[in-house]
Symmetry: C3
Subunit: 439 residues, 3 copies
């Protein structure tokens, strides 16, 4: 039995709560591109879906990059001369620059300041900073706190390690009828930041969970990996899989209150762009289509010229476009259960179109077939207009010359994909349409 649109009618206020609760569960973990926090997070995902957790050793060459050493951290703080912790990693893991090297020294304020990061324009927020590929250490704190730090001798303590180890990522594959596959990718390397990207991890996890129970045409692959180096590692180690990937979607930043944004693919006329645009249009909620650009999230890698997969990106408010981005304000208040649910619903509608889009041929193509004698047309003539289902049947019959898919027909007619898809069923049942191809 094919993927059922009725799924879309599930109680989404309920699923919103589940999506939110999962983000809440993952929130305290200190993630980075490697280390225990990543493994802990992947384990949490594995409790919901049968995830495979893979590891790539430090030093592995992945295209132009090398897998870095594994970073772990136990504790970090700045103490003043009275022995008070003025900045404490245990209060908020954003306080530490990710990949900070271990240190235990005492220094003056002016020495210390070279290692402090703040955002003057958002004086209450702790910024999120990383230094993956340049050995150094640093602390992040609110500008309001920063400016009140008195001259003093400060003890700086970081109990971290940077050692040979592994980079982890999670992968889950659902085999469908076809080995052609749809890829969903979300990054997992951010510490206590909610929209970016616990929203993505939670949404993709529940998407995978829902699709597990379905009969599917396509195969589906879900990747949970650190940003940039994770995507590069996966692509480098899975080149044999790439020819199977028909379309893909980067899912990230899908829990805030903004409208959905779809960022188009590098390729100017890719099917995934048409599918997502139609799904969002049919969703009857405000949305925006962004042109492709090579800056953003992991579409950067999937859309590089030597990979060049048809992978778009679904977010709500895009990175860099909201002040809470990469600060402590991207917290559990910033994401909404309802918005997570709407994002998942939109993705299910995308899957619905992908699964059910087919090319049929009208087997009675000369003039209209007589729908009335098949019980498909109003017997009383002369009335104003035609009801929508009959109109959809006329469109399908008119366009099903073997060249146009149901999606093509939905787009040209301006009707919802679901309306076209439902109308096609009546025509298939009475033998007027014959399947030519899965689109």
């Amino acid at each position: 039995m094919a993927f059922e649109q009725t799924l879309l009618d599930e109680d989404f206020s309920n699923i919103g709560q589940k999506l939110y609760a999962f983000a809440e569960l993952m929130y305290p973990v200190c993630r980075s591109i490697t280390g225990q926090g990543v493994r802990d997070t992947l384990e949490m995902v594995r409790e919901k879906i049968p995830l495979t957790i893979n590891q790539v050793p430090t030093g592995t060459q992945v295209f132009d990059w090398e897998v870095p050493r594994e970073w772990n951290i136990k504790d970090a703080y700045i103490k003043n001369s009275k022995g008070e912790k003025v900045v404490d990693f245990k209060n908020n893991n954003l306080h530490i620059v990710s990949y900070s090297t271990p240190i235990d020294v005492t220094m003056t304020l002016s020495e210390l300041k070279k290692h402090l990061h703040t955002i003057e324009k958002q004086p209450d927020c702790i910024p999120y900073r990383t230094s993956y590929y340049s050995e150094s250490w640093g602390f992040c704190l609110s500008y309001n706190q920063f400016k009140t730090l008195p001259e003093d001798d400060y003890q700086v303590f970081i109990d971290s390690s940077l050692e040979e180890g592994v980079l982890n990522y999670g992968e889950y594959y659902i085999a469908g009828e076809s080995k052609e596959e749809i890829l969903f990718y979300t990054h997992i390397c951010h510490p206590s930041l909610c929209n970016d990207n616990l929203s993505g991890i939670s949404t993709v996890t529940y998407l995978a969970k829902i699709l597990t129970e379905q009969d599917l045409h396509f195969s589906y692959r879900f990747i949970f990996a650190p940003g940039t180096i994770g995507a590069i590692s996966w692509l480098s180690l899975n080149e044999q899989v790439l020819p199977n990937i028909k379309h893909g979607l980067i899912v990230a930043l899908v829990g805030d209150s903004g409208k959905l944004n779809y960022k188009r693919n590098r390729n100017l006329s890719s099917e995934i762009d048409r599918v997502v645009c139609k799904a969002l249009e049919d969703g009857n909620k405000e949305f925006e289509i962004l042109e492709f650009s090579p800056y953003g999230y992991d579409e950067r890698q999937f859309c590089s010229p030597g990979i060049n997969l048809d992978v778009g990106r679904l977010t709500r408010t895009p990175n860099n476009s909201y002040p809470e981005y990469h600060t402590s304000a991207d917290n559990l208040d910033f994401i909404k259960a309802e918005k997570l649910a709407e994002s998942l619903q939109a993705i299910l509608q995308i899957v619905n179109i992908l699964e059910n889009n087919k090319i049929y041929i009208n087997v009675s193509p000369q003039c209209e077939p007589q729908l009335g004698k098949r019980g498909l047309y109003d017997k009383t003539g002369g009335k104003q207009g035609v009801e929508q289902n009959a109109f959809a049947m006329l469109w399908i019959l008119n366009q099903s010359d073997g060249e146009h898919s149901l999606l093509d027909i939905a787009i040209r007619s301006g009707l919802r994909f679901e309306t076209i898809s439902n109308a096609s069923k009546s025509l298939i049942n009475c033998g007027l349409l014959k399947l030519v191809n899965k689109a």
Copy 2:
């Protein structure tokens, strides 16, 4: 001698009267998709042009359809218990649902109501209803009358017949120089309704009459047939003719006060669309271009995927878009002589472009030829601008590289087709242009 644009200068207030008078003459006849009313109407057309009247026997298989039995009606009424005719077919043939079966019974109001059709929102109008393919009977009446009908025993009387017979259609062919042909199609199955479609019958009849007297490049075929089943019958019985049809136009609903509407062809870049758009643009009257859709009039059949002819549709206010549509308000007051004339004029301008559109080659293509020495260019230089005829000549010379037709040039230059066509004559006369092809 080629088709002359001067035709377009004929006294069109006069032709408007003729078009209107012909509609008036046909108005009282009770037409349906078959029967005596159709034959009477075709005879009226035959008095103006040498029409061939064809018949297709009941039961003939035409693609997915079968020609239905012939329906004729002599009388029909509803009498109250006092013997008064409260609804009488002889007052208005819309009172009877077309294809009503014969009956003579007495029944209560509540029984009767199951067979009564009204439009509550237009309480003064009698609706037009049909039941061609489902045996039944019914009466149509205004909602105002309907709601005052008292409880009573009503005699229902319909003196109709539904018997083996024929479906009729009329056809007229003018042979031009080329066997490539232009098709004009209008439906003839509506009873006392003026815009839909006495306006079409009258306009196409006079168009045919005017073209009869011309030397024409293309051959022209005019079909007067019932809607849907008539078009399907004609197409089914004339498959050998279809390859000759280069362009076509459904003409219907061309007498109301609305602006002209052209509905595009199924094929996205068909010549007929460009020709009609340019003709309407040159006409300097408001108009609208509608996208193709598979609902409407007989373009539904001509544009079905297995027929797929380049056939557009010219109407004024489209079907379903005005309240008078398919009601007794579509009467002789609803159509205007002046609008009928304007519609005919627009069609003649379409024919003008079709007939006179040609591809020439500039035989002096390197730089501009010296128009001054041929008396075609102002001898005094330095003035502001250039007069329109010289500008048109420059456009023609520039674009006539064997790839662009006069229509292409008129569209790119933004000049009227007539301006380009006239300017081409001077260039042909002095030998600067050579004919490459009829477009």
Copy 3:
């Protein structure tokens, strides 16, 4: 060393003065399509650049045209019966219709008026008129003077000659690395008119002077020739050169205060159009793009179907669009040093794009290359956004698949060509880009 963008930073208020001064120097000369005035003007240009001055004998057949006799004029006036010169060529060379035949007769006012040209709507202006191909004579004067001429016997005296001679044009060629060439063409046939076209002569002269000192990829050809007959002569005599011409630009009317106007090429998707549009866009000044039409300046000849070169036209306010056009009001007050400089600057930006537009291939196309380890990317991650140079590098790496030029990338990214061009240098330096082709 390649063409340097830094040229664009030259002191352009200074070059504006030079451009203006050169126009001022040429202003008094009485030019026409042939004669001493043309030679004098070409000599003035030769003092700045090593111009070749060519001559085409009277009677030479050039495509559909014939080189006319050479016209020279020494004096011309109209004297009233008191012996006062009421119109005197020596006051303003616009007073004489160009190519007026010699005459010395006395006539009445009403006889004289047949030979007088005025513009009633601009009563203070002397119009500019010519009669190259129709032997006649005439005077031009302001309408205000014209209407006060009393009845009288007037002596009409024109000391001109129309004899076998030559048509002159100037040509200058700079050989670049490639024999593919860029053509700049300006007309030189107008007498004391500044915008049309001393502005063009001056600008193209200084352009040629600047490019002389550069190492250039393309070869450059500069033609200074009379309008229409000069362009036709040059094209007719240089057919062997035409295959080398890759792009061209007519430069004319570039000194007035209006915004720059670029008139597109006859060919709908020519590279020169894209280059000029991007250069003007990057210039951050208001501009307008005009569709091609076969009326205007010498693009008429270069874009004729048998020549069909990719030659656009750069003007400020186009011919026919300002009242001063072809009148004595197109004088030294009408053109501005600053606007001449801006026009030259725009052309240099066009040359800059032409010279520096190349197609590279990203040699590390699978995922992004690691820019950080090459010192090209901010080492601290997590910040909002990316700085422009890094963004430009990402665009170049993403699009450099061998199909897209730097111009393509600048257009798609919306970044300035210069930003893209500069960013490409860092990528070339670190070996990430390899040259595929000069675009």
